[in-house]
């Protein structure tokens, strides 16, 4: 509870301006707090009269902080492939481990995945905890949760990182709850605080309109999920050495209450462009249907989907479900790359709330440049192939 010492309060209003939630305001001659208070403490820090303090029931000390050491990464495997985000986690994991002066490990559950342990070590893992069992071929929430929980309890890492993938966002909150650990989702930035080695987790809230930095002062491990393509992947170093530790998966642990009856993989045309984070869109400037091959290539490179302006759809170059705009769909992806699209208002209204808009158009006066975050004036048939090539180079 926020306690306001009315005798000390001078109604100066500094608390009101420092509150991000509109929870405290000056009413008459004193500050008054309402139910929106999240006890973040910003007003307490800023009050010049020190008239504010937060009183809470004593938090249970939940962890012997000193007993937890090391950074652990959940390396996901699906359909026989290690998810690319795992390498991104090893990249940031290595940085955090080096800053803390501790080891970096990876947990790799799967059905026949031993061969990948070497890749994880090359990407920075000092130890790979390998859990192999046929049941792990499919993602069974309960079995994965049990194995992760067990490894974490045994190894006591101070930090656990996972990808904010469908699998990660499903199983990690379950595991965090089981471990009484704090979890921050979709972190865009991770760092270690020099003073006390605490993990600082930064993430967006309110649909991305606000950023928040979060810490877990009293619980261990400090857990965080990270969205794919946010962190840079680790560059593999085949000379790195590491150890592989096999985790036993006894039969009773491998029993799942959940039956996986079927697995369906989307074909590209079924992708809902409104659900995708990256869109590459083609317009009249493509001059032909063939131009969409290039658009598809760039989209694939970025892990995104293909969209189009009305002109392209009307010309029959791509089907209507891909159309963005007034008479098509409204999208708000993280990244929207408009190639050969003029950006007339009928198209703009369908995509202007994208976080980042990149425009590639040979007409420097095209209205798309008025709403683009980044603009390249040039022939898309020159720009896009080069862009694809650069992106491929970086991946390596």
């Amino acid at each position: 509870m926020l306690i306001i010492e009315t005798e000390k309060c001078t109604a100066c209003g500094v608390c009101e301006s420092s509150c991000a939630f509109g929870a405290i305001s000056i009413q008459g001659d004193c500050a008054v707090v309402n139910d929106s208070c999240t006890l973040c403490g910003a007003c307490v820090d800023n009050c010049p009269e020190q008239a504010l303090r937060i009183e809470i029931a004593e938090k249970r000390i939940q962890a012997d902080l000193g007993a937890y050491t090391g950074i652990m990464v959940f390396a996901e495997c699906r359909h026989g492939k290690v998810a690319p985000v795992s390498y991104e986690l090893l990249g940031i994991g290595r940085k955090l481990a080096d800053k803390r002066g501790v080891r970096l490990s990876a947990v790799l559950p799967g059905s026949a995945v031993a061969a990948y342990a070497a890749d994880l070590i090359a990407a920075g893992a000092d130890t790979v905890f390998l859990a192999e069992h046929p049941v792990l071929e499919q993602f069974h929430e309960d079995v994965y949760a049990r194995i992760l929980e067990q490894v974490i309890r045994e190894q006591k890492p101070e930090v656990v990182l996972a990808g904010a993938t469908a699998i990660g966002r499903s199983v990690i909150p379950y595991v965090a709850t089981a471990l009484d650990a704090g979890l921050t989702a979709d972190c865009t930035h991770l760092d270690i605080r020099d003073e006390d080695g605490m993990l600082l987790q930064t993430r967006p809230a309110f649909g991305g309109n606000i950023m928040a930095t979060i810490e877990c002062p009293l619980t261990r491990p400090q857990m965080a999920t990270v969205r794919p393509k946010v962190m840079a992947p680790a560059l593999p170093d085949l000379s790195r050495k590491g150890e592989v530790v096999r985790i036993d998966v006894p039969q009773h642990q491998a029993q799942s209450k959940i039956e996986v009856l079927e697995t369906v993989v989307n074909t590209t045309d079924q992708v809902n462009i409104q659900e995708v984070e990256t869109l590459v869109a083609g317009g009249r400037g493509l001059d032909s249907a063939k131009g969409f091959e290039l658009i598809r290539e760039l989209a694939a490179e970025l892990g995104g989907a293909v969209a189009a302006s009305r002109a392209a759809v009307d010309s029959g170059w791509i089907p209507y479900p891909h159309q963005v705009g007034q008479t098509g769909k409204t999208v708000s992806p993280k990244l929207y790359i408009a190639c050969g699209i003029s950006g007339a208002v009928q198209h703009a209204v369908g995509m202007q709330s994208a976080e980042i808009v990149v425009a590639i158009n040979r007409d420097k006066n095209a209205p798309i440049f008025d709403i683009a975050t980044y603009g390249v004036v040039g022939d898309l048939y020159e720009v896009v192939p080069k862009l694809i090539k650069r992106l491929q180079e970086i991946k390596k």
């Binding site: 509109g22 929106s36 469908a166 600082l200």
Partner: protein, 259 residues
């Protein structure tokens, strides 16, 4: 069939902005709404009830004004609403929230199915659903885009994956979180609205659900907000110049910094 739906009252996220000068959330004219994903969860619950028979109970943890979303839920087909409200819940993160909801569910008694929206549009964490499943020790599935079949013993659903979906069979009782594709929520009927107006909302305090004060609210929250700030404004428009190679290099550098 006894179905519970967890809903949250949230500010309409797209309207919330941080005023950079005062570092305050600009909340003028921001409406409080039922979290859109929860609306879909409610619709699915009501559809299952209409098919299988039973009751739909809607639960929310929030301040007194959150009662409005419970009434909205009743207008859309829920049978009863329960408000879990107490000053001690303030400042709860997802761990403390799932604890509180679990205690309330246990107070309500046996259930067959719990439905939640995939995530709340203010926190965006998608953590409470799985956390609640953990506390209640029930099988769960997240991001369900379709219910294929349901019987008294089990439910078959399509659970989204990054590249498609899996079809799962979960024995009941179970928990699932849903995405918007799962259904088209109905418009609340006149009869429903009248029923909602007259409905008695059950209110649970922390004591009513037997909550441990160290597990709720800020006291029970392992995570803590250190700082809140505005994201980098993307107003800086850059039109690159130079050769195509140079422009592409600059573009890639900017994208890497941002993404």
């Amino acid at each position: 069939m006894k179905i519970i739906v967890c809903v949250k009252q949230v500010p309409d996220a797209k309207d919330v902005r941080l005023d950079p000068k005062t570092n305050t959330l600009a909340r003028e004219g921001v409406e409080a709404i039922m979290n859109p994903y929860d609306r879909h969860a409610l619709e699915e619950a009501v559809a299952i009830k209409e098919q299988q028979g039973g009751t739909v109970t809607v639960l929310t943890m929030g301040p007194p004004q959150a009662e409005a979303v419970l009434r909205e839920a009743i207008a859309c087909g829920a049978d009863e609403g329960v408000l879990i409200s107490d000053r001690a819940f303030a400042g709860a993160d997802t761990w403390a929230t799932s604890y509180t909801l679990a205690k309330a569910v246990q107070t309500l008694g046996n259930f067959d199915l719990i439905l939640c929206g995939k995530q709340a549009i203010d926190g965006d964490t998608a953590q409470v659903g799985p956390g609640l499943a953990c506390r209640l020790q029930v099988p769960f599935a997240t991001c369900v885009q379709k219910t294929r079949t349901i019987s008294a013993e089990a439910i078959e659903v399509e659970r989204m994956m990054d590249d498609g979906f899996d079809v799962l069979r979960l024995p009941l009782p179970a928990l699932m979180t849903v995405v918007k594709d799962i259904n088209e929520p109905r418009v609340a009927s006149l009869k429903g609205k009248m029923k909602a107006k007259k409905a008695d909302i059950l209110i649970y305090s922390a004591a009513d659900i037997g909550a441990d004060p160290q597990c709720i609210g800020l006291a029970g929250s392992p995570t803590q907000v250190v700082r809140v700030f505005s994201p980098e404004p993307r107003g800086d428009r850059q039109i690159f110049s130079g050769s195509v190679d140079e422009q592409v290099d600059q573009l890639v550098a900017c994208l890497r910094a941002h993404l």
